[in-house]
Symmetry: C2
Subunit: 318 residues, 2 copies
C-alpha cells in the first residue's frame, strides 16, 4: 500500500489527504432532513446523513487526491450504525481507487494488539473462511505501550502489504506535556541537551520502519503535527524512510511554508491532512458563495486551493 | 459510577473484574457449531458465538463480581457484527447490575476526543433526540496526547457521573521502552534520581482526578500493571484518590501478594482484572474436569479461587 500511496501521490501531484471527519453540524440540513425522514432521528438516521455527506464529497474530489483519512471516532459516536457508515465509507473510497487511512489511533498489547491489527488491516479466520473485517489500507497507532503494541501491526503489515502511521508528535497544544519531556542520559540531535520523548519515539519508529520496508519507503510511517515545524524538521532526519502523516494544516494553524521540511529531497515522504477545511469548506467565508446546497463543489474548490498552496511552497524551496 | 463500583465491590467483597476478551479458540466447539449453523462461517457467525459464550459466562459469575471489562479489540476484529456483540454484552452486563468498563484505550484530541467520550460514556444529540451510543460505565484512555485528549472525557464524566482509567504503567514486558524513561530536571519520589515518565503521567492523573471527584474516590482512575509491583507501590501514593485498574494478574504472571500495595488502607482503591484465567478456565489443567461443556461453571470456580487468593493476600497485610 505504501507503493500505491506513492503512485497515487505522483498521479495526482497532490501530497494531501482529506480527513473524512464528519460532525452532524457540518452536514447541510437537506441531507440531515432526508436521512431523518427515512430513518427517524436515530443513530441510523445520523449514520445515513454522515454516509450521504461523505459520498457526495468523495464523488466531488476523488480524482484530485491520493487518499482519505476517515476519523473513526466521528462514526463511533453514533454507535453501531455509525460504524456501519464508517465501513461503507472505507469500501466506497477503495472502490474509487483511493488509499484509505483509518485514523483509529489504536494501541494495546499482545493478543489484543493482534486483534486491532486484524480488525483494521488484516483478515480473520472463522471456521474454514478467511474474512476481512474493516479493511483499511493504513491505520494510525499509539506508541505508549512500546514494541509489544507495535509488533503485531508490523506482522500484519508485512503479510498484507499494508501500513501504519505511529503517533510521534501530535498537533495539539498540550502534546508537549509528555511528548516534549527531555529524557535523562541521552543527547539530542543537536548534540547539546537531552532528547525529547518524541525523538526517542521517532528513533523507535525508524527501527520498526527498517524492519518493514517497501521498495523505497517503509510500511511504517509517523504522525507529526504541522503545528511544530521545527520538530518536524528534526524528525524528518530521524525517520528517513517513513512517510509522515501531517495533521494540523489549515484549521489548526499549520502553514504550507512550515511543511516543506516534512518532505524528503525526492519530493515525497509526507502527506498533509485537512479535514474541516475541506469537508466543511462551504461554511468558510471564502467558499460561502457555493451555498449549503453545493457543499461538495466547495470541497472540490478547497482541495484545489490546498494542492496549489502546498505545491507552491514546495516549489519555492526546490 | 465510581460510587456504584465501590458499592458493588463491598457487596461482593471482591475487588476484581472479569475481562470479557473472547478469542474464537476459547469458545467451546458446541457454541461455535450452533452459531455457524445459524449464521454460517461469517463475521455474524463468529459474533454470535462470542455473544453466546459471554452470556453463559456472565450468567455463571455475575453474582460474585462487581464489574466486567470487555476488551473491544476482540469484538472489533469481527467487524460490525463483532461490535454489535460488544454492544449486546455491555447491555446485558448492565442489566445484571454489573459495572461495565469498556477497555477501549481511546486517545485523541479536541472534537475527536469529544466524539470518543460521547461514543463510550456519553450521549449524542440527533435532531431533537438525545441518544446513547455504546453506554459503558467506564472507559480506558491513553494519555500520550496530554490534557487535550483527557479533558473531553473529564467533561463527560462529570456530566454523566461516569469514569475513566488512564494508562499509566502497562503490564507488558516492553512497557518500559517509553514509560520508564527518566525525565531530566525532575526528582523521583525516592528523592535521588529523575522521575520516570509513568510517574509524571501519574502526577497528571492525580491532578485530573482532583478535578473530578466522587464522594471518596475520583471518577478518574489509572491502569497500572500487576507485573510491576514496586512501581505500583509508588503510584498508589502518587494518585491517592484514583482507583487503580490492575491488569496482568494470573496469566501474565502477577501474584496476589504483589498487589496488596495497589490498595489503600480503606481496603479499596484497586480492582484486579483477570481475563483468560477466568473465561477460558476450562482449558487449564486445574479446571479441566469441568470439560468444555461446563466451561461456565469452570469460570465460576476460577472466580471463587481468584477472590479467595486476593482476599487472603489482603488479610495477611492488615
Amino acid at each position: 500500500m505504501i507503493q500505491k500511496l506513492i503512485e497515487n501521490i505522483k498521479k495526482t501531484n497532490a501530497p494531501i489527504v482529506v480527513g473524512l471527519d464528519p460532525m452532524l453540524n457540518y452536514i447541510p440540513e437537506q441531507i440531515q432532513k432526508a436521512a431523518f425522514a427515512e430513518y427517524g432521528e436515530t443513530l441510523e438516521g445520523a449514520a445515513e446523513a454522515v454516509w450521504q455527506y461523505n459520498k457526495k464529497i468523495v464523488d466531488a474530489v476523488y480524482d484530485l487526491i491520493p487518499a482519505v483519512k476517515p476519523q473513526i471516532a466521528m462514526y463511533e459516536q453514533f454507535g453501531i450504525p455509525g460504524l456501519a457508515a464508517f465501513q461503507k465509507t472505507v469500501d466506497y473510497c477503495k472502490e474509487k481507487g483511493l488509499v484509505v487511512i483509518g485514523d483509529v489511533k489504536r494501541g494495546d498489547i499482545g493478543s489484543t494488539s493482534v486483534a486491532y491489527a486484524t480488525a483494521h488491516l488484516g483478515k480473520v479466520t472463522v471456521g474454514s473462511q478467511i474474512l476481512t473485517p474493516f479493511g483499511e489500507d493504513f491505520a494510525t497507532v499509539n506508541p505508549y505501550l512500546g514494541t509489544d503494541g507495535i509488533k503485531p501491526f508490523l506482522d500484519v503489515c508485512r503479510e498484507e502489504k499494508k501500513g501504519i502511521f505511529i503517533l510521534v508528535k501530535t498537533s495539539n497544544p498540550s502534546s508537549g506535556e509528555f511528548q516534549d519531556r527531555r529524557i535523562a542520559g541521552t543527547a539530542g540531535a543537536d548534540g547539546t541537551e537531552e532528547k525529547p520523548l518524541y525523538e526517542i519515539v521517532g528513533e523507535k519508529v525508524a527501527e520498526w520502519a527498517d524492519s518493514c520496508m517497501g521498495d523505497t519507503y517503509s510500511y511504517v510511517g509517523a504522525v507529526v503535527g504541522a503545528t511544530y515545524p521545527e520538530m518536524g524538521k528534526v524528525l524528518r532526519r530521524v525517520m528517513p524512510k517513513s512517510f509522515i502523516l501531517v495533521p494540523g494544516y489549515g484549521a489548526q494553524g499549520g502553514k504550507a511554508e512550515d511543511l516543506v521540511h516534512y518532505f524528503n529531497e525526492d519530493g515525497l515522504g509526507a502527506i498533509v491532512n485537512s479535514s474541516r477545511g475541506i469537508i466543511a469548506a462551504y461554511k468558510q467565508e471564502k467558499y460561502a458563495s457555493f451555498g449549503a446546497e453545493h457543499f461538495a463543489e466547495a470541497s472540490r474548490a478547497a482541495v484545489v486551493a490546498m494542492i496549489e498552496d502546498i505545491n507552491r511552497a514546495l516549489e519555492q524551496t526546490r
